[in-house]
């Protein structure tokens, strides 16, 4: 838990800044191929060659999930305090101020209302580039408020997680956000509304061990690191090499921990369909991105060609499912 800085400093395979690497040409972290940067961005920040999924910003995430122009922010007027007067290499308030300026938001989360495929939803998106997406009081409170407001407004909740875990600079209060977010989700349970989660790279520690894994349906992006204890902590404990693919999305799917691993190009469509299915509404089969989940592919050949408008905010259309899958 509280591994956010561990991720920032040790950079096992990816750096903090590799959302979409700078430069005209990019060497893919996944396969080493030279990719034209614009192609990478156009492809939802996934490699057109190998399907490697790069971390995305909150803005990119909202653009790929919310119907064009429908996102209305809820969060933004709460800021962190310094309950412990915490000083490590610099005082916590100074650190926060710097990150706030860099990221343009008061803490590591954006919540709001939107429609997805025409369905009203509440969206929660974590900002990994803000102090490793660590969860302190503000992140916990914004999630709790989003869940409660979603329940009042009758909106299902869709959360996309990316976090190094609980934020140690707020001590035990950060730990308590695990319980706070969990009890706040009860509002959705009471209202009979769905709560869907997308675990993106990386989701670890106290976030994984609370609201992130409590979704009615839990998807993950290909290759995402998802864990309670980070790989290095485990390696230090057991002093052995870790198995191939350990704690990656595909590994966890095989062990029954996820409902599915969903490539980014298919993500919106899968979320919209899942919401429709859970709420016993007609399934809009062409909704989302024009791709089909694999188990429906055979019966839906005709529809694959109809690219829909719902992901138009990311253009050009992203019909690269063949390459995006299988990472």
């Amino acid at each position: 838990m509280a591994l956010e800085r561990w991720f920032r400093r040790n950079k096992p395979t990816r750096s903090d800044d590799d959302a979409t690497p700078a430069g005209l040409w990019v060497k893919c972290d996944g396969c080493g191929a030279q990719i034209y940067r614009k192609d990478l961005v156009a492809n939802l920040s996934t490699c057109p060659e190998c399907g490697h999924h790069y971390r995305v910003t909150v803005e990119e995430r909202i653009a790929m999930l919310a119907d064009d122009g429908t996102f209305e922010p809820w969060s933004g007027d709460l800021a962190p305090t310094d309950p412990l007067a915490f000083v490590d290499t610099e005082p916590y308030p100074d650190r926060m101020e710097r990150v706030q300026r860099k990221q343009g938001r008061p803490d590591a989360i954006q919540t709001g209302a939107a429609t997805m495929g025409g369905t009203p939803v509440a969206l929660v998106v974590m900002d990994f580039f803000f102090a490793g997406g660590s969860m302190g009081s503000v992140v916990g409170e914004e999630i709790a408020r989003a869940a409660e407001r979603a329940a009042v407004e009758g909106r299902p909740l869709v959360a996309v997680t990316a976090s190094g875990g609980a934020r140690m600079q707020e001590g035990a209060l950060s730990l308590m956000q695990m319980a706070k977010t969990t009890v706040a989700l009860e509002a959705l349970v009471d209202a009979g509304l769905p709560y869907l989660v997308v675990l993106s790279d990386p989701t670890t520690g106290g976030v994984t061990a609370s609201f992130a894994t409590l979704g009615d349906v839990v998807f993950a992006e290909p290759g995402a690191l998802i864990c309670f204890a980070g790989p290095r902590v485990i390696q230090q404990t057991i002093k052995q090499e870790l198995p191939e693919g350990f704690q990656r999305a595909e590994f966890l799917l095989a062990r029954g921990m996820l409902d599915d691993v969903v490539p980014r190009a298919e993500l919106k469509g899968r979320l919209v369909r899942t919401l429709q299915l859970l709420q016993d509404r007609p399934v809009d089969r062409g909704e989302g991105d024009g791709t089909s989940p694999p188990d429906l592919e055979a019966s839906e050949v005709s529809e694959a060609s109809e690219a829909s408008e719902t992901s138009a905010s990311i253009e050009p259309s992203s019909g690269e499912e063949g390459t995006a899958r299988g990472a």
């Binding site: 933004g76 409170e141 001590g171």
Partner: protein, 321 residues
């Protein structure tokens, strides 16, 4: 084994012992001198333990000889009957569950058990649970609801176990599920942090209506060693991390994480286990009696409200409305 700051106390205790032996041997009366030294000893214990740094308290919380869950289960409760197994995968010795009574009324108990010696510590995995342990805890929460029995949890763990099997079996998933299951209890719940409250692995059984903590116990988002390794890239900076994390009983009471601090005898629980257990036994009875008197329809909502309220935020000046 003595903690470093205990040395002057132990030296003085040694001196008193020697003087007694000498008086007996020489058949002389040193009663007055001994009484003086004993008074000095009490003062020394009190002043030492009042002035402990946070890192020193961490050491007391982990000290060998400190009462473990079983010591309370056997001596602070009546008629403890252990119940085993998660009904899925196994029985986790690091997390002990069962039925017991307080003042002749039944409760369900869920407790983290460290070893009382090296052999037991290995058997109990130093109190670090696997997913199986939390599944067993959830089974007990079901049992408590079914028979309308209050729940008492005793928290004492460095954390949930960070291992390959634990991760494969969904350590994060089961901690989240246990937090949720405990928050949904329709009966009253009391948690007591008796030693180490290690992060999510502790909170998984800590979502109670009332949370009490022993004076020298700790409860933290991360261990001081891990925190130091991350922030200063040096685990020997743990004392500094312990200071920064504010993980002592009184620190936690200040921010509302715990409701009540249970006093330990001067010198710490590990030097007076019997006295500590008696005090915990008294508090358990008092707290459970008060909880039983509460509104039966309000336990769940009260627990939800308690945890919903935790955290400190402020208005954001730049982006605020």
């Amino acid at each position: 084994m003595a903690l470093e700051f205990e040395r002057p106390i132990l030296d003085l205790e040694g001196k008193i012992r020697d003087m007694r032996a000498y008086a007996e041997e020489q058949e002389i009366d040193l009663g007055e001198e001994i009484a003086l030294l004993e008074a000095r000893l009490e003062r020394l214990k009190t002043s030492t333990f009042e002035g402990l740094t946070r890192w020193q308290r961490v050491q007391v919380a982990r000290a060998p000889g400190r009462p473990t869950a079983f010591d309370y289960l056997e001596h602070a409760f009546e008629g403890f009957e252990e119940l085993h197994g998660d009904r899925t995968l196994g029985d986790d010795p690091a997390l002990v569950t069962g039925l017991a009574q307080l003042d002749g009324r039944s409760v369900v108990v869920v407790a983290q058990q460290k070893g009382r010696d090296t052999k037991e510590n290995i058997h109990r995995n130093f109190g670090m649970s696997h997913p199986s342990g939390y599944r067993k805890a959830m089974r007990m929460f079901d049992l408590a609801d079914r028979f309308r029995l209050p729940v008492v949890t005793l928290i004492d763990t460095p954390g949930a176990y960070p291992g390959i099997a634990a991760e494969e079996q969904g350590q994060a998933w089961v901690i989240a599920a246990s937090i949720r299951r405990m928050s949904r209890l329709r009966v009253p719940a009391l948690s007591v942090v008796i030693g180490e409250g290690g992060s999510g692995g502790a909170l998984a059984i800590g979502v109670a209506n009332r949370v009490a903590i022993l004076e020298n116990a700790t409860y933290s988002v991360i261990s001081p060693e891990s925190c130091a390794a991350i922030l200063w890239r040096d685990a020997t900076e743990a004392p500094r991390a312990a200071e920064a994390l504010r993980l002592t009983a009184h620190d936690l009471q200040e921010v509302g994480v715990v409701d009540r601090v249970i006093a330990e005898p001067p010198g710490g629980a590990h030097r007076a286990p019997g006295q500590t257990i008696r005090e915990v036994a008294r508090v358990l009875r008092e707290e459970i009696a008060a909880l039983r008197d509460g509104d039966p329809d309000a336990w769940t909502s009260q627990r939800r409200a308690r945890f919903r309220a935790l955290g400190r935020v402020t208005d954001h000046p730049a982006l605020g409305a």
